[in-house]
Amino acid sequence: MTLDGVRTVARQEFMQRIRKGRWRWLLAAWFVILVAITALVRLALREAGQEVAPYRGSVMYGGLMILVLSLSLLVVPALAAQSVNGDRERGVLATLQVTRLSAVEIALGKFAAAWGTTMVFLLLTAPLVLWCVAEGGVDLASIAVVTLVMAILLATVCAVALALSALLARSTTSSVLSYLSVFVLTLGTLIGFGLATAMTQESVTRSFRHPVYYDEAHPPPPPSESSRELPPTPLRFEEGTYIETRSRTDRVWWLLAPNPFVVLADAAPYRPRCYTPEGWTAYQPLQPGDVPPRHQCDDSGIDPLGAIGRSVRELRKAPVSDSGDGRIAEYADREQGRGAPVWPTGLAINLALGAGALVLATRRLRTPAHTLPRGQRVA
């Protein structure tokens, strides 16, 4: 395999794509949709109040990235799902296979072309990202990480679509299956997680302590008395139990991990901030005894990426073994932090999927061939 060979295939493929379709219109439509949605988000935030203002940009940016990922997942299968069997149908694949280009070079070249085209779409979002930065509150580190992770996630989808187009004889079948695999990655993981969560339900018997103020020896004062206040100290504490049904999402969180939205959101660096009377401050871990200013922190979930990231980390956490005191449980929860990150697992699954797909595509492109897919001619 040589880089020159990969470049030869990729350049040819890329040039052909650009000249063939109505690219200018597609790219223009893409840009207009993104501008419109970003503008709408900005308008909506005008009403969101004072607290949001300092990090308005990050809210817009999060929303924009989720939108870009959604639309890209719609576009990518169309870019890659016909690259091998479409060539076969047009009768241009075999003439390429008898050249000195190896199967790896052909597979990687086609992959690079599809991915490169996707990156053109991503590049078009740059002006909008600048707008978000101008609104304030966007981390440059966050932009770098989100862009990189998005590129990797879209590469995975490109590779899967390419493999399907190499494995299946008909380009319509591979297109449908590519969209289906995007569906499985996005909604499928969600549905799978939901169903699996239902199966993890378990009942636990919880004990709790409750104060006892009156008993037979100390009857409550007659109702006619005006004072309804409880005695200052309880007589004693009694143990009680109750049965709690809970889902052990910490056992099935990994089903959500490969979801591209989860990976993207959770990988985005997150820096919670809190609004104090002195203004915006960096988030400080709570100390025992602090009253959490929860409603005042942007932990409340207005930044879409942060909100998704926090929820999945929450799901990964084992249930807190609380002792019945709600407040203590909450402290314990806060002290435990955000929970372990989910994105490394998800990104690893995606990378493995993409690499496996490229290997499969290469094997199918290797000639001389022993077997052919049903109903397929070599040339």
């Binding site: 020159d4 008898v98 000195r100 001389p368 022993h370 040339a379």
Partner: protein, 322 residues
């Protein structure tokens, strides 16, 4: 027919080939269909070899095996001395292949198309443009060099496809139906081009149905049918069965013609609108027949061979089996 029997028997043993193409006992099955079931083929450097057979005889499958695209189930193949299964890279450096049906990249110009393949064949970057220009000139496509390939006519596309197979100056050339879609002038040019390549030492294998073209083009001919090699001959030395050619006679008076033929003891077909067909051996016999007919005052308006020698052989070989 004893003559055909001897033709259909095992092909004449061929000496081992060092360059060119040497395929022996090649078999290939697709599911339940055995497309190639024991083909032998030798194509020597410096010669044009024709691969002739009816549709479905296994010609294209054999060419795919020779072109390093398919693994044969059985048999041994050498292209320019290398095994296409275990040494495809060596074979591809030395072999050019053009399939019967192929596409061109929409959106590329003819020049870009050839330059792309020059790169794919790893020609040095500096030579690609020069080579593309040479080939465009050879294909008489210079004026279309910067036009997108989809504006080319069928014949022009066919010529461009042939140039693609020549990009890396192969020493073995495999062409599946190269004359399809070519106008008469292009056919003559194709013939001259291939003869020229053979003269320069290339082994050229051409499959075709247009037998009259092959007759003037090929040095050797390999007949295949039902996945077998049924004959392997030099065109200058086609067997006697082939020399027995069919001639077509037209006369102003069919009755007189039939009477004369019967008197001369020559088998003939019943008279039809196209005329009367007769089987005559060598050209001298044909001349003798014409002279006799004229002597007998038969008003002959035309006297011409039907089809070529290859076509006759082809029909005889395949008739027996169908």
């Amino acid at each position: 027919m004893t003559t055909t029997d001897s033709l259909a028997a095992a092909p004449a043993p061929t000496p081992p080939v060092t360059g060119g193409i040497d395929a022996r006992g090649v078999r290939r099955r697709f599911g339940s269909v055995e497309a190639v079931r024991g083909m032998d083929l030798a194509a020597h450097p410096g010669r044009v070899t024709a691969l002739v057979g009816p549709n479905g005889a296994g010609k294209t499958t054999l060419l795919l095996i020779l072109a390093t695209l398919l693994v044969p189930d059985d048999g041994s193949v050498r292209i320019a001395g290398y095994d296409p299964v275990t040494q495809p890279e060596e074979v591809r450096q030395r072999m050019g292949w053009s399939p019967d049906v192929f596409g061109l990249y929409e959106g590329l110009t003819s020049r870009e198309y050839l330059e792309f393949f020059a790169a794919a064949y790893r020609l040095p970057a500096g030579d690609r443009a020069t080579r593309a220009r040479e080939l465009l000139a050879l294909a008489r496509l210079e004026e279309y060099a910067d036009q997108p390939v989809h504006v080319l006519s069928r014949g022009q596309k066919q010529r461009l496809g042939l140039m693609r197979a020549l990009v890396h100056r192969p020493e073995v050339l495999l062409l599946d139906e190269p004359a399809a879609g070519l106008d008469p002038r292009s056919r003559v040019e194709l013939r001259e081009l291939l003869r020229g390549l053979a003269a320069d030492g290339a082994a050229v294998l051409v499959s075709s149905h247009v037998l009259s073209d092959l007759e003037e083009l090929a040095d050797d001919v390999v007949f295949v049918d039902h996945g077998h090699t049924v004959g392997h001959h030099s065109v200058s030395n086609l067997p006697r069965a082939v020399a027995l050619r069919q001639w077509r006679l037209r006369s102003l008076d069919d009755a007189l013609l039939i009477a004369a033929l019967t008197r001369l003891g020559i088998a003939h077909s019943p008279p039809g609108p196209a005329g009367v067909d007769v089987q005559v051996g060598l050209d001298t016999e044909a001349a003798g027949l014409l002279a006799a007919l004229v002597r007998d005052d038969v008003p002959v308006v035309s006297f011409q061979p039907v089809g070529g020698a290859l076509e006759q052989t082809f029909l005889e070989l395949t008739e027996e089996r169908s």
